[in-house]
């Protein structure tokens, strides 16, 4: 198969980027989108040109490292990770536009690679969970109902790829943060730090320059892990409650009338 590619080229954070056109030919329909880009890079290497930089790691849809915007769709048009897109899904001769994520909290490092460490810092700001060390605990000492377990797991499967941020017209990371808050705040292990976790993560999210939610729901529509929009509802609820329940560092001293 043959494709025309419009690819965003940008040398580093500081330089201005632009689209560059390439043609790739002899692409196997069964090759993945990233393999197609590998072929393009091999071709550029032979021509002694700078290769296109893009992120990938597992290439099996579980790590969340790949991060392309394909024809305007973060992670491609099929609600899977970019590495799970195959060239047979495109028509022969098609022109495909490939861009990096576009939001201020993810600066472009080179070409299609963005710095998504802001998401790591949001997780860090959530802090630890208290746990006991020592002998292995009794298996049933902390009961979790199957329903809770499933619900927490549905949030925990977020791979942190950042497609939600890339899809959001406001560059908001609330689907991501919501998923992270939900998975720990639902489980008994997450209870002691329930308040500080959500406050810390929301403050970090704002500090990183992510936008706010206007309930468009685009994030959930592109999420390769199909995280449901209700994690944002839960994030809103948890944050509101946390601010209400927040304990002052020290209660005021009481005196008589």
């Amino acid at each position: 198969m043959r494709f025309n590619l419009e690819i965003w080229r940008q040398f580093d954070r500081e330089s201005n980027g632009h689209f560059e056109s390439f043609t790739v030919d002899g692409i196997d329909p069964e090759s993945s989108f990233l393999e197609m880009l590998d072929q393009l890079n091999a071709q550029l290497g032979r021509e002694k040109q700078r290769m296109v930089a893009f992120d990938s790691d597992c290439r099996e849809g579980i790590c969340g490292t790949c991060s392309l915007v394909i024809d305007g769709y973060p992670q491609g048009p099929r609600q899977v990770t970019a590495c799970q897109i195959y060239m047979r899904e495109f028509t022969d001769g098609a022109t495909i536009k490939v861009e990096p994520y576009r939001n201020s909290a993810f600066p472009v490092m080179r070409d299609l690679i963005t710095d998504r460490s802001a998401l790591d810092r949001v997780i860090q700001a959530g802090g630890y969970i208290s746990t006991k060390t020592g002998p292995q605990p009794d298996p049933n000492s902390m009961p979790v109902s199957p329903e809770t377990q499933k619900e927490a797991f549905d949030a925990a499967i977020c791979i942190g790829c950042g497609a939600c941020v890339a899809a959001c017209p406001n560059g908001s990371a609330m689907l991501f943060t919501g998923a992270k808050v939900k998975h720990l705040n639902l489980l008994p292990q997450g209870q002691p730090e329930r308040t500080t976790r959500v406050i810390g993560m929301v403050e970090q999210m704002d500090a990183e320059g992510f936008g706010g939610c206007t309930n468009y729901g685009e994030c959930s529509r592109v999420c390769p892990q199909e995280i449901s929009l209700d994690v944002i509802g839960m994030l809103n609820r948890e944050y509101r409650k946390a601010r209400k329940d927040e304990q002052p560092a020290h209660r005021a001293k009481m005196t008589a009338q």
Binding site: D71, G72, Y73, E99, R102, N103, S104, A105, A166, A167, C168, P169, N170, G171, S172, M174, V202, E203, M205, D206, G209, F210, G211, G212, C213, T214, N215, Y216, G217, E218, R221, V222, S228, L229, D230, I232, G233, M234, L235, N236, R237, E238, Y239, R240, R243
Partner: protein, 244 residues
Amino acid sequence: MREFWDSTIGKKVFVAVGGTILVAYLILHMAGNLWSLAGPGTVEPHIDEYASWLRNFGEPLVPYEGTLWVVRAILLAALVVHLVGVIQLRARNRKARPPEYPARRIGRSWESRLMMVSGVVILVFLVVHILQFSTLTIDVTPLVEGAIYANLYWAFQEWYVVLFYLAAVFLVGTHLRHAIWSVFQTLGVDSPERNGQIKAGASLLTVVIVAGFAAVPILFFTGALGVPIDNEPTAAVLAGGGGR
């Protein structure tokens, strides 16, 4: 409280609470307007009686128009909080997503995309509407203080006034369809199980509000509602006198 307001989530909660107060008012206002459908009456139109009841409300415990002014103050506060919140959030969102790379539309509703447009139109409409029927400043048709029914009747004989009101009410509807559902999400009181009902409920409430508001100009214009008892605007009014 300060930290809450400064966070994107907290600010949005203020926007939602302010918006909810405004929605609650819209429902009451719409219902109140329906008194005009009772027609010109025999002595005094029902809508005029209703208006004076609003003004006398709580008398003698509260002064004349006292309750009305308290409600107006609450509404103004709600509107200001709503607007300030929306504008600040919007500024943050634009910084977070550079406008030169707009996000492709994947599934967001057109009502949600129009929130800012419908909001600005509502604001403009609000000003015009108050200047017309409350302060009687925009006096395209002769308006008389306190003669609500007659004022409505004569204003809504003009096709362009009717069109303007219908267009504004339609945009209020587009604002509300996204807004009412949004409140549940912003306050975190929805759930996947209840989402269908909340969405349907938001649409239904929107239709009821829009239909209730739209009925008044339409029924006046089509002549379904009779001419005010005084029949013609009084000579004093035509001479630009105003007042009673």
